[in-house]
């Protein structure tokens, strides 16, 4: 069972590029449609919890699913399966990168690639914006954190914690206000 989970997640891990959604789609195909070991709703719950907990989304989803199938060890089997192939590939690429960093052709190619990184992140940022501003004060939080990060160089760890506290405070405030309005 553990070996089977490990190998299945090894395959998932090898064929994902970018976001974790393709893994969720593959899990649906295999575990919901074919093997019928979990339902659509369960997979959706696992996905939404895995996404909202800190850490890597697909690592969390793998752990969650493995835990449901075969306990903690099952979770570990899925998690390690998921990271094996990407880790080996990245280790090879990094060795190559370090060895050829000063080669003129590699250096020019990397220089070209670097010009694309800010646009790539910017385009992904556009995608994040849709779900990020649930309440009007969220705009203030985003602007404030930008200033603290970019100009004041406050540590991102600190900023995430501040964001979490503000989130709790803002939601509580809105809830109480709508409560008062109703009463």
């Amino acid at each position: 069972m553990l070996a089977k989970l490990y190998i299945q997640f090894l395959k998932f891990g090898a064929f994902t590029f970018g976001g974790g959604w393709s893994i969720v789609a593959q899990m649906k195909e295999i575990y919901v449609n074919r093997e019928k070991v979990i339902t659509d709703e369960e997979l959706l719950d696992i996905t939404s919890i895995g996404r909202s907990l800190p850490g890597t989304m697909i690592g969390n989803i793998a752990m969650f699913f493995g835990h449901r199938m075969a306990g903690f060890l099952g979770g570990l089997a899925c998690m390690f399966g998921m990271i094996t192939v990407p880790m080996i590939i990245l280790i090879l690429i990094t060795s190559f990168y370090t060895a050829f960093q000063s080669n003129i052709w590699v250096a020019s190619a990397m220089r070209g690639v670097r010009t694309a990184v800010a646009p790539v992140i910017l385009s992904a940022l556009m995608g994040m914006i849709k779900s990020a501003f649930k309440l009007p004060p969220c705009y203030v939080i985003a602007a404030g954190m930008f200033v603290l990060y970019f100009f004041m160089k406050v540590s991102p760890v600190m900023l995430v914690v501040i964001g979490a506290v503000l989130g709790l405070a803002v939601c509580e405030w809105y809830e109480r206000r709508s409560h008062d309005a109703a009463a």
């Binding site: 909202s52 800190p54 010009t115 985003a142 914690v161």
Partner: protein, 180 residues
Amino acid sequence: MLLLELFWSFVKIGFTSFGGLSMIPLISSEMISHGWMTASEVSDIVAIAEMTPGPLGLNCATFAGMKAAGILGAFTANMGALSPTYTLCVVAAVFFEHFRDNKRLGQIMTGVRPACVGMVAGVVLDLALVNYVEAGAVHVPSALLGVVDLVLLLKFKLSIPVVLTLSAVAGVIMFGVMGM
């Protein structure tokens, strides 16, 4: 000692990141402040992580760990980045029903998501300053290539690996062959 430091760095990164890009500001500040990477290496790592399979955060962990302390470093960094998964996530799995529609989690994310948007916007500017500015002046060919990349991504909806590959080719021609 280095391994312990690397592990702890990625534990911090893991516990305060919520998927994908939100890890980049954290990784960038941790790596640069420890001297494990330069600002342009942070750009490279994002590009490489986007072009290879696997989650962005873990790919960054592998790259940073390798650069700082070899293969053992890569493994250590991964274990750090995954620490919320084998602690917090296990607790959540055990108390699955309780976590199913947790109100507090939703409230926290209401604040964390915009905070990430603000920080990621800061990173975009940071990286733009590193990649398009040379000796205090805007490097025009690099900036133009960046604009073209943005148009390809947003207007023509090309996928990220495709755009990165095209930029690599453009880089070889512009900076290698033409010596811009």
